[in-house]
C-alpha cells in the first residue's frame, strides 16, 4: 500500500528550480532513506510533503488522496515532521514539548485529556526520556534533545514520519539509537522517510533509498543498488569501500 506518492513534482524557489520531475512512493512499514549531496533538494521534498512549499507542477497523494483535498488537521494527524533544526524558542519543559505532539487532536479551547496525557507519557517512556520530563529543553545535551523530539513525534501518533537529518550533530551511539527508534516505528506498521547524510547509517537501516541529485531522483532501490560505485561517483564525486558479508554497508573513502 502506497502511503505517500509523488508524481512528476516540480518545486521552485525564487524562480530557481529546486525539484524537477520527482516521482516516488513510500509503502507501509518502510524506512526510506533520502540521500544526496548538499543542495540536492532533500529538505525541499519534505517541505513540499508537509505543505510548507507548494509545487509548481505534479501531484502529491497521501493515502491515495491528492493532498489538496486533505484538510490541514487530517494531514497533521497523518504526517509527523521532524525539522533539521530542533529549534525550541522558549525554555519549555520536556513534557510540554512532547505534549505539543497532541496539538492536531485538540481544538483551540480544549485542554489535554487523560487519554492524551497517557499517550504523552508512553511516548516519553518509549524514547527513554520520561526521567527528563521536568527538565528544561534548552539544558539538554544534543542526544537527549533528539530523543525528546522523537517523543514529540510519537505523541502525535502519525502514520508517516518525515525526519530531516535527525542524527545531525549526534555521536555514533546516539545516531544509532535514533535510527533504531525510527526503524522500530516502521516495524509497527508506520512508514518513515528520513533524510540522511551518513551513507553507512542509510545502508544499515533503510529498506529502500532514494538518491537525489540536482533536484532529480538519480537512483532508487535497495541500498546495494543505489550506493553503487557509479552512482556515488556521479552524484557525490567520491569513492567508497563496501562491506559485503551478511550485512551490506558503504563507507565513503575518498574524493575524486
Amino acid at each position: 500500500m502506497k502511503l505517500i506518492e509523488t508524481e512528476k513534482l516540480d518545486v521552485s524557489l525564487d524562480g530557481m528550480t529546486i525539484l524537477n520531475d520527482v516521482s516516488f512512493w513510500i509503502g507501509k512499514g518502510e524506512v526510506v532513506g533520502l540521500v544526496g549531496p548538499n543542495g540536492a533538494g532533500k529538505s525541499t521534498v519534505l517541505k513540499a510533503l508537509i505543505g510548507a512549499l507548494l509545487p509548481d507542477k505534479g501531484t502529491i497523494r497521501i493515502f491515495g488522496k491528492p493532498v489538496r483535498e486533505v484538510s490541514r488537521r487530517t494531514l497533521a494527524r497523518k504526517l509527523g515532521y521532524l525539522p533539521q533544526e530542533n529549534e525550541v524558542h522558549w525554555p519549555l519543559t520536556v513534557e510540554r514539548v512532547v505534549a505539543f505532539g497532541r496539538i492536531p487532536y485538540l481544538m483551540p479551547w480544549e485542554g489535554l485529556k487523560g487519554a492524551d496525557q497517557k499517550i504523552i507519557r508512553d511516548a516519553m517512556r518509549a524514547t527513554d526520556t520520561f526521567h527528563l520530563r521536568h527538565r528544561r529543553i534548552d539544558h539538554l545535551a544534543g542526544g537527549e534533545k533528539a530523543l525528546v523530539m522523537i517523543a514529540r513525534l510519537l505523541a502525535g501518533e502519525p502514520e508517516i514520519i518525515l525526519a530531516d537529518e535527525p542524527v545531525q550533530g549526534l555521536d555514533p551511539a546516539h545516531s544509532i539509537q535514533v535510527m533504531e527508534f525510527l526503524a522500530g516505528i516502521a516495524e509497527n506498521g508506520r512508514s518513515v522517510l528520513v533524510v540522511l547524510h551518513d551513507l553507512a547509517l542509510a545502508s544499515r537501516f533503510c529498506s529502500r533509498v532514494l538518491l537525489l541529485h540536482e533536484g532529480k531522483i538519480a537512483a532508487s532501490g535497495s541500498p546495494e543498488e543505489v550506493f553503487s560505485s557509479e552512482n556515488l561517483r556521479s552524484s557525490y564525486h567520491i569513492e567508497a569501500k563496501y562491506g559485503n558479508g551478511d550485512d551490506f554497508y558503504v563507507l565513503p573513502w575518498k574524493r575524486i
Binding site: 515532521y81 522558549w90 519549555l92 519543559t93 505539543f100
Partner: protein, 333 residues
C-alpha cells in the same frame, strides 16, 4: 549552577492571585482621587456629588484602565509569542504609531473642537491604515523579519507625520494638547469612551486569545507549526488584526502608554512555565493590574500637575529594561 527544571505555578492559583490583585486594584482605582469619600457613602446616596464622581468620573476611568491594561498585556504577550522575541511589544508592527498619528491629525485639523469623539475615531482609523500599509509593505506571505521591518517603517512614517504636524501647528495650546495627549492618560474620560472602544477591544481580545495553542506550536518553528496543523497565514492575520483592533482603540482613547506590553509578559512568563499560550490570559490580567496601580500612583504622587500615566509606566519600564540588559550580559559572560 544552572536551573535545569521549570516550576509552573498552578493555573488555578495564578488566576486566583491575579484576579484578586485586579479586584483590589479596581476598587483602589475607584476609591482614590482628589476628593476623599467612602465608596459606601457614594453608593448609598445616589443623588449626591460623591455618587456623580464615582459613577461618571472614577468608574469609567477604572474601566478604561482595565481595558487598556489588559489589552497591552495581552497584545504584548501575543506579539512576543508570534515573533518569538521577548523584546517585542504591542506597537512593534506600527499600530501604536498609526493610531497616534490618526489622533494627532484630529488635533491638527481642529476637528477635535467640533466633535471631541473624533479623537478616538481618528486613532482607530490610523491603526487600520497602519495595518493596510503593513500588508502593502510586507505582502500577504511575509516572514517575521519582513513584518518587523515593515512595522519599523510604518512607525518611522507615523513619527515623521506626527512631528510634521507638531511643527506646522500654529496654535501653541494645540501643541501642548498634542504633547500631553501623547504622554498617555486615563484622566477625564467618560463612559462614551468606554463604549466607543469596547467592541474593538473585545473583538481584538477574542482574536488574540484564540491563538494560544497556535503560538505554542509556533515555539517549535514555523515549519513544525505548519506540520502540526496550524495555518500560518490565518494566524498572522488574526494576530495583526487582533492587535490593531484592541491596541489601536486603546491608544486612540488613552494615548501611548509604553512598556506595559513588554514588562508584564516578561514578569509572568516563568510563572506559566514559559508557555506562550498560557501567558496570554495571565498577561491580560497582569497588564490590567499594572495600569490600574500606575493610575492610582499618578493620583497619589503629590505634584503641582497630575503626572501622565505614560510617564509613570516609562519610569517603571526604563529600569526594568536595564535589568534585562544586565541579566543578558551576565548570561553571555
Amino acid at each position: 549552577m544552572k536551573k535545569n527544571t521549570v516550576k509552573e505555578v498552578s493555573p488555578f492559583w495564578l488566576y486566583v492571585v491575579l484576579g484578586t490583585l485586579l479586584l483590589a486594584a479596581f476598587l483602589g482605582s475607584v476609591s482614590v482621587g482628589a476628593l476623599k469619600f467612602s465608596l459606601w457613602d457614594a453608593l448609598c446616596h445616589p443623588s449626591s456629588g460623591f455618587s456623580f464622581i464615582l459613577w461618571d468620573i472614577r468608574l469609567p476611568r477604572a474601566l478604561l484602565g482595565l481595558l487598556v491594561g489588559a489589552t497591552l498585556g495581552l497584545a504584548g504577550a501575543a506579539m512576543q509569542g508570534f515573533l518569538r522575541n521577548p523584546l517585542a511589544e504591542p506597537g512593534i508592527l506600527g499600530v501604536t504609531g498609526g493610531a497616534a498619528l490618526g489622533a494627532v491629525a484630529v488635533f491638527y485639523t481642529g476637528l477635535i473642537s467640533i466633535f471631541p469623539m473624533m479623537l478616538p475615531i481618528g486613532g482607530i482609523l490610523g491603526a487600520f491604515v497602519s495595518v493596510i500599509l503593513l500588508y502593502l509593505f510586507a505582502g500577504a506571505l511575509a516572514g517575521i523579519q519582513t513584518l518587523i521591518l515593515a512595522g519599523v517603517a510604518i512607525n518611522v512614517i507615523a513619527f515623521a507625520g506626527t512631528s510634521l504636524m507638531l511643527n506646522l501647528v500654529k496654535d501653541p495650546y494645540a501643541v501642548l494638547d498634542i504633547v500631553f495627549w501623547q504622554m498617555g492618560s486615563l484622566a477625564d474620560r467618560s463612559f462614551e469612551h468606554v463604549f466607543l472602544i469596547l467592541p474593538f477591544v473585545l473583538a481584538g481580545w477574542c482574536m488574540l486569545l484564540w491563538d494560544g495553542r497556535a503560538l505554542e506550536a509556533l515555539s517549535l518553528g514555523e515549519e513544525t507549526a505548519l506540520s502540526l496543523g496550524i495555518s500560518l497565514g490565518s494566524l498572522r492575520t488574526r494576530i495583526v488584526l487582533g492587535a490593531a483592533l484592541c491596541v489601536g482603540a486603546s491608544v486612540a482613547v488613552c494615548g501611548s502608554i509604553g512598556f506595559v506590553g513588554l514588562i508584564v509578559p516578561h514578569l509572568l512568563r516563568p510563572l506559566v512555565g514559559y508557555r506562550p499560550g498560557r501567558l496570554l490570559g495571565a498577561s491580560a490580567l497582569g497588564g490590567a493590574v499594572l495600569i490600574l496601580c500606575s493610575d492610582i500612583a499618578v493620583r497619589m504622587v503629590p505634584s503641582l500637575m497630575e503626572l501622565k500615566l505614560g510617564v509613570v509606566t516609562s519610569l517603571l519600564g526604563a529600569p526594568f529594561f536595564l535589568f534585562l540588559i544586565f541579566r543578558l550580559r551576565k548570561k553571555i559572560l
